[in-house]
Symmetry: C2
Subunit: 494 residues, 2 copies
Amino acid sequence: MAIATTSILLSFLILSLFVAEIYANRQVKALNILHKSKFRRNSQIDKSDFEVEELVLDGIVHSQEGIKEKDRILRLPGQPQVNFSQYGGYVTLDKFSGRAFYYYFVEAQHSEQTLPLLLWLNGGPGCSSLAYGAMQELGPFRVNSDGKTLHRNSFSWNNVANVLFLESPTGVGFSYSNKSSDYNTNGDKKTAADNYLFLVNWLERFPEYKDRDFYIAGESYAGHYVPQLAHTILYHNKKANKKIINLKGILIGNAVINDETDTRGLYDYLASHAIISDRAAYISKACDSSSSKILKSDCDAAEDETEKDLEYIDLYNIYAPLCKNTNLTALPKRSTVVTDPCSEYYVYAYLNRKDVQEALHANVTNLKYDWEPCSDVITKWVDSSSTVLPLLHEFLQNNLRVWIFSGDTDGRVPITSTKYSIYKMNLPVKTVWHPWFSYGEVGGYAEVYKGGLTLVTVREAGHQVPSYQPARALTLIKYFLEGTPLPGPPKRHA
Amino acid sequence: MAIATTSILLSFLILSLFVAEIYANRQVKALNILHKSKFRRNSQIDKSDFEVEELVLDGIVHSQEGIKEKDRILRLPGQPQVNFSQYGGYVTLDKFSGRAFYYYFVEAQHSEQTLPLLLWLNGGPGCSSLAYGAMQELGPFRVNSDGKTLHRNSFSWNNVANVLFLESPTGVGFSYSNKSSDYNTNGDKKTAADNYLFLVNWLERFPEYKDRDFYIAGESYAGHYVPQLAHTILYHNKKANKKIINLKGILIGNAVINDETDTRGLYDYLASHAIISDRAAYISKACDSSSSKILKSDCDAAEDETEKDLEYIDLYNIYAPLCKNTNLTALPKRSTVVTDPCSEYYVYAYLNRKDVQEALHANVTNLKYDWEPCSDVITKWVDSSSTVLPLLHEFLQNNLRVWIFSGDTDGRVPITSTKYSIYKMNLPVKTVWHPWFSYGEVGGYAEVYKGGLTLVTVREAGHQVPSYQPARALTLIKYFLEGTPLPGPPKRHA
């Protein structure tokens, strides 16, 4: 989630303090922490290209015998009846420091022995895949407004895959370490190494998935995590000269991938969507350029204007209503909107219940803090490469499937940013821009590039695409996993 | 409603033939007829600046004594109880040719003796203010899915004004002529003259409104009608050196006002909203420029791509669902969306009922054709000025209130077009771009220019703003009529 400017960052930071109450989306806060550090003048963050941390498999893979069955979730409190298996638990990454990552795994609703394995990662950095991916986006359940009971999401991605949700890095959600320095040494490199560590051990615990087709998907700052983990997998496969992990492709949405274009696209999006003035967008873009001759006072005025313009909307879905009342209801209420803007509060309440944590086999060490959608305990981010485009090139050369999607009403990492970033890759067009269809409507638009990269928009979806457009998102993931072009128009009757 | 290019026009024309069934909005058809004529190479349409047709009041105002009470609508079929008066009937413009315009007038729900008089005009050209304005947008009733009964629109603009809906020009809705040549000599100039003729006679019929503050509002191609009528009023007031009509201001929304910027803004909107590719937008803009060096084959390809990209969505609200079943229901169904995409069919059914026409005092001559939302009988458009910006300048110099609004999810005459057109006026900014509020949410954004022009966006509203955002539209018209800045943020609790 990138806004690559010092100026606008401070605005967001100030905003997040003021509007916390009316503005439910806690991802804002997480983003601001990173950006505050990344884009200030004397930033200590390493912005160089991502480099893999080499791991010796023999030393890091531990026996997982018998743990899988202990991880089986019999039933979540308030859960409706289902016909698939769920697991939850910890994978220890470092016995010495007691660093352990929490995962939640839902097997497919049918054909779980043949359908692929899909890892889902949320961004932030510092936000939980349990909070967003599993409980508000693509998981099988959503939390009711009572904070106690669940209802089914019929567009859950476990219709088409076995889905693994991971809370990463250290300090996110239920993932923790007993060594306190682990909380302030997080960064892109450590996250990728830890995610890899997690994965090889998890596959020991679930050996039936070892040779399964494997895909990684994620949104927002996972635009860093997903390619970096994929690169780490490819690296170790090559080094070992065998498919340690059978990686087939990646899918990233509304993803932070290239700071410079992410920023430029943001201003263009805000102006073309009538949120800020064209004048403020123009000045802000110029102010971000080092060669700018614009007066500081004009930059300040544009920043001021932008701050005020963004203050009262949910930038993650520019048309969404805001959460006005964060209290839980006595009984579940039926929401009239697809995504209740207060759903984050329901998830928070649910996942902090003792019975829920027990059922999930989570929080076994009794953390000193609440489970949070986005971490309050990660205080520092060590490295954040300014681009992941070289990694995407690498994947195409290695015949991995690479799809990049964008919910088109997200103002945070908007479609304009994603388009500009893809242009930077200089890929010739294979199939020109065209509408694709989901449940009889235009689901969005797609363009396919030579080399195998596909850009897909999801119409009227905010930052968390499967929250706002569950049906369209399910069509998207289905065709991605099948590796076939997205569906064309419905047949017309004569 | 302007797409100022030959190329894209044909696409739309072709589209309108193919998708008529899945695409309920008949305004498309009307637009295409105009554009087909206006932008082709050897267009016969006069595109020069609007000039008033001078009228001698004495000869054109006729006694209207006693007609008002005959026009009173006792009750519309299927109508819920209300506490305001409604009138409907004909004003004869030319006794010789039997040219007569149909109007529907709803008095304010309270203070009707002091609240202003507001004339609402729909565009097309050729679309009915009864079909859109009255029955689907800002009128007191909306038609149920049974095509027989009505329900209240609680955000009706007669909360704040006495609202007059006019079907104009000749051939629109119930407005007709006995002289067939009247149907193929319509154009901007004749429409303005006829609307003026209508107005002075209507004020004779309703003399209590003669000195009332008077405002004209409208959308789409009414971006031509409204300023041209306002200019005609100013012209005759000046000539007579008295306020024949007490015009105070105009309000136009998603309005066709300046062909060149309307077109440019359209492509920019479609690309930034991820409907067409940036490449197609870039080429199309260049192809429209006379100095273009782009190959015809590339222009054709871009046109082709754009056509396909637009084919399956409602360009008038890019996120709206489409009408999939045009059948009426046996009983009124409760719609889950703000605006039922099939509502045009309900209105068509309702207004073609004999009992409804009798109650409305409409179709007294038994027209040979059905009442249509947009005219099938207007076959030609004689003149359509390429810009109305000089008229807007005139109004500002004459201290008229000028507000221009834009529903920001309309792709037909989008906010980008409106902004570019306003920039052309070179007005310095008085109050910078800022959010405004309606019922506790951001209603949109506004910018005020020196000289008195105000630009207002309406968040998440399509082309027919009061259909998609009734509450926000009511806030907008209320503050426009009061002449006060739009409301700021709700107060925060400490």
